[in-house]
């Protein structure tokens, strides 16, 4: 196994970190793509989930969406979008695919969170004369917050993975280091790219883990 030293030397070569195809630039693209798409999908999914959860409607839709989404290959959706007229706009196929796949975990978890709010608490709030909007913002949404955050965490980690696949259809991000490595038949570069991607994904997961662990009780939820 003399791959490991080769991977190490690839990772420690300064030239591989700078420039258009360098790790630095690819990392920046990956970060921008991940967080921009996370914001867009949260803006779409959370209002729908809070509304449906408050009304107690569309539960089957919200819960099954995640299961249906799982059967659709991300790679296929990326290529399909690339071949439509949307594909002519560079980043669009990637952004649309990423948002589409980030919505189900956000929607499902936020919905389940809203539905699992203790109904006694909801009745008490109604009894105090709260309006629907007050009920959502002061009672249901805060109590559902831990699960909403779980949804955000799943979506974020998944976005990192999906953004990697974008490289297969010519998008930017860290996946490009891997695909370039395959094109060059350079195993060290492929593995080095994979290590960077894996570390990035794990750091994202770890950041959420720490945030949830050290957050105040109302963010963490009761110990589940």
């Amino acid at each position: 196994m003399n791959t490991l030293p080769a991977v190490w030397s690839w990772l420690t070569t300064a030239a591989n970190w700078s420039g258009e195809n360098g790790i630095g630039h690819r990392l920046e693209q990956h970060l921008v793509l991940t967080f921009a798409c996370l914001a867009i999908s949260a803006l779409i999914a959370l209002p729908i989930a809070l509304t449906l959860g408050h009304l107690g409607r569309g539960g089957a839709l919200a819960v099954n969406l995640a299961n249906v989404g799982r059967a659709v290959p991300t790679f296929a959706v990326l290529v399909l979008l690339l071949l439509t007229p949307i594909g002519r706009h560079e980043q669009w196929p990637t952004v649309i695919a990423l948002v589409l796949f980030a919505i189900p975990p956000l929607l499902t978890n936020a919905y389940v969170g809203m539905r699992e709010v203790d109904q006694d608490v909801v009745r008490a709030a109604r009894g105090m004369g709260m309006t629907g909007a007050q009920l959502v913002w002061r009672v249901e949404a805060p109590l559902a917050f831990p699960l909403v955050l779980t949804g955000v965490r799943i979506a974020a980690v998944q976005l990192v993975a999906t953004a990697t696949l974008a490289a297969l259809v010519g998008g930017g991000g860290l996946g490009r280091i891997i695909t370039a490595g395959f094109n060059l038949a350079s195993t060290p570069q492929v593995v080095a790219g994979a290590v960077v991607v894996a570390v990035f994904a794990l750091l994202m997961e770890a950041a959420f883990e720490l945030a949830q662990r050290f957050a105040p009780v109302w963010v963490r939820g009761r110990t589940r």
Binding site: M1, T3, V63, A66, N67, G69, R70, A71, V72, P73, T74, F75, A76, V77, V79, L80, L82, L83, F101, P104, P105, T108, N109, V112, E116, T150, I154, A155, V157, Q158, V160, A161, T162, T164, L165, A167, L168, V169, G175, I178, T179, G181, F182, T187, V190, V191, G193, A194, V195, V197, A198, A201, L202, M204, E205
Partner: protein
């Protein structure tokens, strides 16, 4: 001078009957490879996951590390996973199978453990009271009662594996993913759409088959239809999909 043929292949339509008839063998081969990669990897994952889950249950201190490692594995994106295995397996079908098996493994271990933990204490006490030994209790009481949770994991693992197999195209073993990859480079719309739809169909067929298997394995659940518990739902929602 003959005019170019005006059929759906020449027009590069999304939906094209001629594509289906002229590329039949290619499609069947790709479906065959896809199904084979999926089934072998999930089966491999199951074979490893069951003893791991049983070990974790017997030696409680191993639960933390087992769940931790499986979470780490599950967090690694598929493209990176296949790439990390490249120095070990080279450009081979084994690489794809091992990568997919690792993902299945993580889902299955967690769900089997959850299923075993969910066995009611009364059921275990009753078995002990009837003089069952630990092995008999495990095989005839605990494992059957863990089937619903384990099958939920197996269904998610299988459906995810079908979708993820497409990424194997990066090493040339992606089943229908190979057709999608080639179709992308050639801008061949009918090929990309047909292969994508077939992928989803395979996933749906597997899901339905596993659901039927679950009902066969748990005849007692057909008699008393209990509403699905919140716990079951949580299992389905808490594990995101892989990409």
């Amino acid at each position: 001078m003959t005019a170019p043929p005006d059929d759906c292949l020449a027009r590069n339509d999304w939906i094209c009957g001629d594509y289906l008839s002229t590329r039949r063998q290619i499609l069947l081969d790709a479906v065959g490879q896809h199904v084979q990669l999926t089934v072998v990897s999930v089966a491999l994952g199951l074979v490893i996951a069951l003893p791991l889950a049983l070990l974790a249950r017997r030696r409680r201190w191993t639960i933390g590390p087992v769940l931790g490692i499986t979470t780490v594995i599950y967090t690694i994106p598929s493209l990176a996973m296949f790439s990390l295995l490249l120095p070990v397996y080279g450009l081979s079908a084994t690489l794809v199978v091992v990568g997919l098996a690792l993902y299945s493994l993580t889902l299955l271990v967690r769900n089997i453990l959850a299923g075993l933990d969910g066995v009611p204490a009364e059921a275990k006490e009753a078995a002990r009271g009837m003089g069952y030994g630990p092995m008999r209790q495990l095989l005839t009481v605990e494992l059957p009662l863990a089937v619903p949770a384990a099958m939920a994991g197996l269904r998610i693992a299988t459906v995810s594996a079908v979708a993820l197999t497409t990424v194997g195209a990066i090493v040339g073993y992606g089943g229908l993913g190979n057709l999608i990859y080639a179709g992308m480079n050639a801008f061949f719309k009918a090929q990309v759409l047909t292969a994508s739809v077939l992928c989803v169909l395979i996933a749906v067929v597997f899901d339905v088959l596993l659901l039927a298997a679950e009902r066969l394995l748990t005849p007692w659940r057909r008699v008393v239809r209990r509403p699905r518990s919140a716990r079951g739902r949580r299992l389905l929602t808490a594990s995101g999909r892989r990409a």
